[in-house]
Symmetry: C2
């Protein structure tokens, strides 16, 4: 990989939350950045890697909505780079996994701004792991499908998602009823072991477990908020055998 440079934008994955899951390269780039542009799902301790005088700009999104328009983020990144600054664009998880990093990369490419992508630990595997759920397991699941429950266009292919050996869904608040019904209507057994992980790897992580038919009610009663992941499949039942992992808060 090339060395960090002025006028360059680094699209960097910050990992799922736990600041220990930041990569070495991300920490070095942060320590050298003039400008850091970050989302809501970045742990405050991650930002402490930045220099005291770096500009820290928050462009976070709340729930499904956006507080700063995507186009305005592009304009901001391009403007900061054109000022000759080294810019770290820090995203929760991984920039290319439901992170809109591709859109930002295309905008930078079109503007002729040098950029790099620095992958991060994606929530998709790390959050189930933090809940003692291996998303693949020999003899239980040999594939995993990741999707988001809040697409901007079209409906998800529920028939495909229902057939996944392991299904991991990014949830926006309040769609669990709709989502679990859609999966059952598309043929997924109501008894399928299911978990919801709220704020996975963060200090306030919570895990709920129930059959697919009951998880939405469990989550509603527990007042589960965002971010949350839904994990559907027989791998969820491994939690009960990985007791010492599952007992972590």
């Amino acid at each position: 990989m090339s060395r960090r440079a002025k006028g360059c934008v680094y699209l960097v994955g910050a990992g799922p939350g736990d600041p220990g899951l930041l990569t070495l390269r991300a920490a070095r780039l942060l320590a050298d950045a003039d400008t850091v542009v970050h989302d809501r799902l970045v742990h405050p301790a991650v930002l402490e890697h930045a220099r005291p005088h770096a500009r820290i700009l928050y462009v976070g999104k709340e729930g499904g909505g956006e507080s700063v328009r995507q186009e305005d983020i592009h304009t901001l990144l391009i403007a900061q780079a054109r000022l000759g600054r080294s810019v770290v664009r820090l995203k929760g998880g991984d920039p290319f996994v439901f992170g809109r990093g591709g859109e930002e990369a295309l905008a930078l490419e079109a503007a002729g701004i040098p950029y790099e992508v620095v992958p991060g630990v994606s929530s998709l595997a790390a959050v189930p792991a933090a809940a003692a759920i291996p998303i693949t397991h020999r003899g239980v699941s040999g594939s995993v499908t990741f999707a988001t429950a809040h697409r901007t266009e079209g409906a998800p292919d529920w028939a495909h998602l229902a057939r996944a050996e392991t299904l991991v869904l990014f949830m926006a608040g309040g769609r669990l009823d709709e989502t679990t019904h859609a999966l059952m209507s598309a043929g997924r057994a109501p008894t399928t072991p299911t978990a919801v992980v709220e704020a996975g790897t963060w200090e306030h992580q919570r895990v709920l477990e129930a059959p697919l038919s009951g998880i939405a009610r469990e989550a509603r009663e527990a007042d589960v908020g965002s971010p949350a992941l839904l994990v559907v499949g027989e791998v969820v039942s491994l939690r009960s055998q990985l007791r010492s992992l599952a007992q972590r808060p």
Copy 2:
């Protein structure tokens, strides 16, 4: 997360190859480990985080086969922990994504050995990213399915895999013909943009791109080896728009 401790086994993801993609927590655990047990797909520079006098034990697997039986790895981890050592079990990518980390966790749980899981950057997203392929992209792909082409039992559900918006397959050597034919027989269009990424994020990374119907021949002619990922879906065509990323070696 609890502090590192003697007699504890840490199942740690080493990331896809590039040593900069190691996590901060993995680096700290390595620096404190008495014993490090690692696979073939761990970059030598990652092992340099270990103390000079740490025991470094190689239990790597070549291709699809195993050089050390999985049960013997369990026995080794348990024995090292019972000697009161702090043991880092270092795996390429993420321990719970086709890494058999679940099996090792179950063995440790059954033996009453304390253990933790430290997620890593998974190859599944990071390797396509290193080839300038965002695995999800608004308006192009809102879900991604990961699978392995070398299952130990049963055949993959090709109908499900063929219907994935983005499909990422871990390849063992020499199955590309079989795999691409199975996908086309199950209904995937022969013209679907497809890439093979060999040794993704490593210094010797190579990327080949072709329609699904032609990628196996391309890979054979280029003598692609292991490890390799197959990426199938319209997102592959974004490479041509992300030129400055794609031009990285």
